[in-house]
């Protein structure tokens, strides 16, 4: 399996919520950790490390009974203290965890009707950190090797990508996974990943949105999740003009989201007019496209002549790597120019070649092109996290405590009307799947379920140690169904 990122962290406490890097970390963490509960594809919470749960009428006190006999991959028993220790560092402060005798109480000063949605997603994994810093989980695999990127022997100037090897946990409480080993190569370039998939050097690869069309033309099997990453424009008061409501409105009205999604991204993205996606809230479709170039020009004409965006350019910093981000930044500048607004794009530091400035971060930018990866199955928690990371502090002082959809909708509308964050497009995750992969059944929202995948041995052309990365087709052994 090959992933885009060059390095990963398997400690959920290190993840930056909403970042695309954290999404990759989470993807690998599902191999080695479990959560208290899971959500199936049919909207039903399923027991995982918690065998059952209950709550009081106010939904402030939740009790979880732990599954007995669950062991970490080193054979030691999972205790309620382990769970409390892991989750206490991850859950927001209003939630307090009290371990009991093979059970656990989570208390909150405010109702948390969406606690199960939160616990079934994101970084809420149960793990144990050993004194030597190593991390243990109860999941279907354990980390057997972690080789960081290092200079290649033949060419020390080039880096040999990082490599991780996960082996099957024979004692996993949910049953041993079908495959023996998952080998992960990090940081492979996009085209190389597609090639590796074609020649059988990989069974699963991430595919960048701008390479999906090529992968399809090459007759590769491509899976797409629901929209998982929001690309948005964030205004920053460090350039004074960004605090002007009229300037923000003019830019919003000038943005051509349809062209971004359908032409630049070749229909592999969706125009985004809401902060949260339709699949998570059910109401995003209500927020229609605000594009109105004539109105944008009218507003621009009424702006003071010395305002940034008019006299001097409004600087747009691309805050995430990738060709798509760069293209999108340039498109924003084009749209702004159509409304007679000047926007100057500063590329992401990793892509500035030669660097746009000695230290791009030191240049005050009024606009940022940001990527936000949806992380929670609770729309309320997701919106709260997004606001806390991407908005000014005062934006979430009155954040609703309830998961009521009416209130959530009202809050999102209020945020959109502020135009501090302008949604542009939403990108799904794309995965190229090798011909030998069977039972590929990820969650619609993007979580992979590699423990349930097996490989068709006869078709597998995967390289590596024979037998290690090939699985067993359980249907070959299933009773009563063989022809």
């Amino acid at each position: 399996m090959e992933l885009h990122v060059a390095s990963v962290s398997l400690d959920p406490r290190d993840w930056r919520v909403g970042s695309t890097a954290a999404a990759e970390d989470e993807r690998l963490a599902t191999l080695i950790y479990d959560r208290l509960v899971t959500l199936d594809d049919y909207g039903r919470f399923q027991p995982a490390l918690a065998a059952e749960w209950s709550h009081d009428a106010a939904e402030k006190n939740w009790q979880f009974k732990l599954r007995p006999g669950v062991k970490f991959s080193n054979g030691s028993l999972l205790t309620s203290s382990d769970v409390a220790k892991a989750l206490q560092g991850l859950l927001p402060p209003p939630l307090q965890i009290i371990p009991g005798d093979n059970n656990l109480t989570i208390r909150s000063s405010r109702p948390v009707p969406d606690l199960l949605e939160q616990l079934a997603s994101g970084r809420y994994f149960v793990f144990r950190k050993n004194p030597d810093g190593t991390l243990l989980g109860t999941g279907p695999f354990y980390l057997a090797e972690n080789i960081p990127a290092q200079p290649a022997e033949a060419n020390p100037a080039a880096l040999k990508p990082a490599h991780l090897k996960f082996r099957a946990n024979e004692e996993a409480w949910a049953g041993r996974p079908f495959v023996d080993t998952v080998e992960v190569t990090l940081g492979a370039p996009g085209l190389r990943q597609i090639l590796d998939l074609q020649v059988g050097r990989a069974d699963l690869v991430e595919i960048a949105p701008d390479l999906v069309r090529k992968a399809r033309q090459d007759n590769l099997r491509v899976w797409r999740s629901a929209p998982a990453t929001l690309l948005a424009l964030r205004f920053d008061n460090s350039q004074h003009a960004a605090s002007d409501d009229r300037l923000r409105e003019a830019i919003d009205l000038a943005l051509d989201r349809d062209t971004m999604a359908n032409v630049l991204l070749q229909r592999e993205a969706q125009p985004a007019t809401a902060l949260l996606p339709q699949w998570l809230t059910g109401y995003a479709f209500i927020f229609g496209s605000p594009m109105n170039l004539n109105r944008a020009r009218e507003i621009r004409a009424a702006l003071p002549s010395n305002e940034a965006g008019t006299a001097e350019p409004l600087r747009l910093r691309v805050d995430a790597p990738g060709d798509v981000m760069k293209l999108l930044g340039e498109r924003v500048a084009v749209n702004a120019r159509q409304a007679n607004l000047a926007v100057q794009v500063t590329p992401h530091a990793a892509q500035a070649n030669p660097p746009a400035s000695p230290n791009p971060g030191s240049v005050a930018a009024g606009l940022h092109l940001v990527a936000w990866h949806y992380d929670s199955l609770s729309p309320r928690a997701e919106l709260e996290a997004l606001v806390s990371q991407l908005y000014q502090k005062d934006a979430f002082d009155t954040f609703p405590a309830y998961a009521d959809p009416d209130k959530l909708y009202a809050e999102e509308r209020r945020l959109l009307e502020q135009r501090r964050l302008l949604p542009l497009i939403a990108l799904p995750d794309y995965v190229g799947i090798g011909p030998a992969v069977r039972n590929w059944s990820p969650a619609p929202w993007g979580e992979w379920r590699l423990a349930d995948v097996w490989l068709e041995a006869s078709e597998s052309t995967t390289s590596g140690a024979p037998g290690e990365s090939s699985g067993t087709n359980p249907k070959d052994r299933a009773p009563g169904v063989r022809p």
Partner: protein, 339 residues
């Protein structure tokens, strides 16, 4: 002391007795209750739309579709919605210039969200109603082709490994080997699908597996359960203890159906290569001399997990997992003569 337990299938608090009763009646009661939930949600939403101040018709009713709006459970709800609007004298029209009333029913990971949006005075009015996702059942699969008769005889959100007919024939029920609350259990149902008796097979103590296997056969009141490394037996009538012994399992051979009009028999062929895709149930002539004959096909809502012949030589019980609902389902498949 624990408060009222909450199982994954019953999110709102309810008593253990009610959970047990619900489980026992699961096969019959769920569909009717769930339909009412969506009906109630429609009524609530229509009432809330009708209560919007200064909303004057006629309105143009639009049901949102397209990217992001998930596939809804059929179109019946749209008809119900329209009917309820008309009952409240909210005028509807198909005139393109009329203000739109936009409505969508979308599945989020945990809920169905029913949304209505309409312009009133100078601003948008939006009303939302949510209901648990598991409370709406998707419409049944279309009827099977005539030559293969298919009857749903049992369904459960919990994993079913195998099903066997009660071979005494008098009551017409079935026996199931299933996981109930994580415990391997044999269940006996009556003709209507209601569970009459449960026996946990504690003695089997199976190793947890992502591919749990098991077969059961019922002869009168005696049941034998075959597991990967042992066989267990017990009797329904005597409530006898479940006894297990170590054996090397010999799994069931290919099932052959023999309709009255073709004594040569047809064997059941399953693809069995992927649990993530629905499977085509097919029967082909059993004799190699007739290999050129066409196969008879019937689309199932998910992969076939097990097949077990019945006393009637023309029928078998097929265990599948419905990929639309996530439930495990048992079908009685009968190879019927004629068209």
């Amino acid at each position: 002391m624990w408060p009222i337990p909450e199982s994954p299938f019953f999110r709102k608090s309810c008593s253990p007795a009610l959970i047990l009763l619900t489980f026992l009646l699961l096969g019959q009661s769920a569909a009717a209750a769930d339909t009412n939930s969506l009906d109630d949600a429609i009524l609530v939403l229509v009432d809330r739309v009708a209560a919007i101040p200064d909303l004057h018709g006629p309105l143009r009713l639009e049901f949102a579709t397209g990217d992001g709006v998930a596939a809804s459970p059929g179109k019946t709800w749209q008809e119900s919605f329209k009917k309820e609007l008309e009952a409240r004298h909210l005028g509807l029209t198909e005139e393109p210039s009329a203000p739109p009333l936009r409505v969508a029913l979308t599945a989020t990971p945990t809920q169905w969200i029913l949304v209505a949006s309409v312009r009133s005075s100078d601003h948008d009015e939006v009303r939302l109603v949510s209901l648990p996702r598991a409370s709406i059942r998707l419409p049944a699969m279309p009827a099977a082709p005539l030559r293969i008769e298919r009857q749903l005889v049992f369904e459960s959100p919990e994993r079913i490994l195998d099903a066997s007919s009660l071979w005494n024939g008098s009551e017409g029920g079935i026996v199931l080997l299933a996981y109930r609350n994580g415990q391997l259990t044999a269940l006996q149902t009556d003709r209507a699908g209601a569970v009459k008796q449960l026996i946990p097979i504690l003695a089997a103590d199976p190793q947890p597996s992502r591919d749990p296997r098991g077969e059961l056969s019922a002869q009168g009141t005696d049941v034998e359960v075959l597991l990967p490394a042992k066989t267990c037996s017990f009797g329904w009538a005597s409530h006898s203890e479940v006894k297990c012994r170590v054996v090397k399992p010999v799994w069931r051979a290919t099932t052959v159906l023999t309709p009255p009009c073709d004594p040569a028999g047809w064997k059941i062929v399953t693809d069995g290569r992927d649990w993530a895709v629905p499977e085509m149930f097919q029967v082909v002539p059993d004799s190699s001399a007739r290999e050129g004959s066409a196969a008879i096909l019937s689309e199932l809502p998910g992969p076939i997990l097990n097949v077990n012949a019945e006393q009637n030589p023309a029928s078998a019980l097929v265990v599948t997992r419905n990929l639309h609902s996530g439930d495990y389902e048992v079908y009685r498949i009968t190879l019927a003569c004629g068209n």
